[in-house]
Amino acid sequence: MTKTYYTADHEWVTITNNVATVGITDYAQNQLGDLVFVELPEIGRKVEKGETVVVVESVKAASDVYTPLSGEIIEVNNHLESDSSLVNQSAESDGWLWKMRLSDANECSELLSLASYKELI
């Protein structure tokens, strides 16, 4: 079963069978402006919820993207190396950032539903 959640830091997480795909929301990309570079994590890296996993660079500044869940990075979106604008154009699908195998499925209970996220923005 696939479920999509959100965070107060403007990330979305889609989970299928203990594997999560993470990206930033369309709202976030709009706030950041045009991205010129996305610094992706190493495959195999183990991350704890709340850690900075990706750094996105706009023309003017760098911004951290935090992982909403703990686990191991198993894939990154290599398209972003040559085209960081994918995140701006398609933040919630083709502009996904990384995939991870979750280490603690219970952490999902702290994530927001779409409705709750929409209330924030």
């Binding site: 402006g33 045009d34 010129v36 570079f37 750094v55 023309v59 760098a62 701006n88």
Partner: protein, 368 residues
């Protein structure tokens, strides 16, 4: 950020209607970008014509029988030989030759000049000019005007088609007063051909609407303004220039003729000449960051060979036209030669930097 304390542009409603995102800069609420976005706005200026609201910047009018003598003293400016209708990039220096502000001075008559100064320093500049005016008794007035800039290779054509033919009488760094209370110069801050218009607030809406009705023109925000000037190798006071940096260290001595420096009539002359005699300790350089990830202001720079700290980045970002990170900074004189290799470390990641010639994008001023 106390939003209520920010100054508002006279044209703020135009920007809101155009979908601008706002930020705070130098105490003003400024449009940072429009729906086009920083990257496209930047490229639009290099390819067509971009319109900037620069009303946060201020104009100080200097009038009086002794106006020329006053400016020869208050600034390291050769006001005597500045012809009517000509502009000159210059500075307000303190006694240590530190740059209080960089500015553009335009002569508009025997005894009349206009100084265009930075928003964040305007009030300080004015007070200092008033102090220095004691023996000269000039009339100093900070004007209230809407100030807009049209920049890009199609600027002149846009102006012509808008009925502003007087622009054809101007070369780069020349100014005129084509109508009552209008002050126009052929200058800018992007490296491209362009014009800056200071007009009364009542004349502004019609002028803006006329220019924007031209399909070649787009609103451009502060984000692109910064990336444009950085690509063009132009300094930003507050980043690349400040009161602890002199025109000598900043590599801007071309703005102060040797004769003026030698006759030493201006405030800061003694200190400046002493620095020059002692030779440079630090120099401002262009910096190319290898790869695609930008390095930002205040990033420290180290020698690739010895690992010692040799300088810092004063302005850093991404240049959409050159499609690469661009930066400027200060390094010890012995590390300032072109192609010198430097390194830096940010968040545990190593970066390689090379000293490069400025500008990154060619300057395309209209000199006739």
């Amino acid at each position: 950020m106390a939003d209520e304390n920010l100054k508002r542009l006279p044209l703020e409603s135009f920007h809101r209607e155009s979908g601008a995102k706002f930020c705070s800069f130098a105490g003003w609420s400024m449009p940072i970008s429009y729906p086009l976005g920083v990257l496209k706005e930047h490229l639009h200026v290099r390819e067509h014509a971009g319109l900037f609201d620069i009303s946060h910047m201020r104009l100080i009018e200097v009038k009086g029988e002794k106006a020329t003598d006053f400016l020869n003293y208050a600034l390291p400016l050769d006001a005597t030989n500045l012809k009517n209708g000509n502009s000159q990039y210059n500075f307000l220096l303190n006694e240590n030759a530190g740059i209080i502000d960089d500015l553009i001075a335009t002569r508009l008559g025997e005894d009349r000049y206009m100084l265009a100064v930075n928003a964040g320093n305007a009030e300080k500049d004015y007070e200092i000019l008033v102090q220095r005016n004691k023996d000269y008794n000039c009339q100093l007035t900070m004007l209230d005007a809407v100030f807009i800039a049209l920049q890009g290779p199609e600027s002149a054509a846009v102006c012509r088609d808008a009925g502003l033919d007087f622009v054809d009488n101007l070369l780069f760094m020349q100014g005129c007063e084509p109508k009552d209370n209008w002050f126009v110069t052929r200058s800018g801050y992007t490296g491209e051909d362009g014009f800056e218009f200071a007009v009364p607030a009542s004349d502004a809406p019609a002028l803006i609407e006329k220019l924007l009705s031209d399909s070649r023109v787009e609103w451009i925000g502060l984000g692109a303004r910064d990336s444009l000037r950085l690509e063009a190798g132009l300094c930003l006071h507050g980043n690349d220039l400040n009161e602890t940096i002199s025109p000598f260290q900043a590599g801007l001595m071309w703005a102060i003729p040797k004769t003026i420096r030698e006759s030493a009539l201006f405030v800061g002359a003694k200190a400046l000449n002493e620095q020059i005699a002692a030779g440079p300790t630090y120099k401002r350089v262009g910096l190319q960051v290898l790869g695609r990830q930008p390095l930002r202001a205040d990033t420290k720079l180290y020698s690739k060979t010895t690992g010692e700290e040799v300088g810092y980045i004063s302005s850093g970002g991404f240049g959409p036209f050159v499609n690469a990170p661009v930066a400027m900074g200060y390094v010890k004189a012995e590390y300032s030669a072109l192609d010198t290799e430097l390194v830096s470390s940010v968040r545990g990641k190593q970066f390689e930097i090379v000293v490069k010639r400025l500008p990154f994008a060619p300057q395309r001023y209209y000199k006739g």
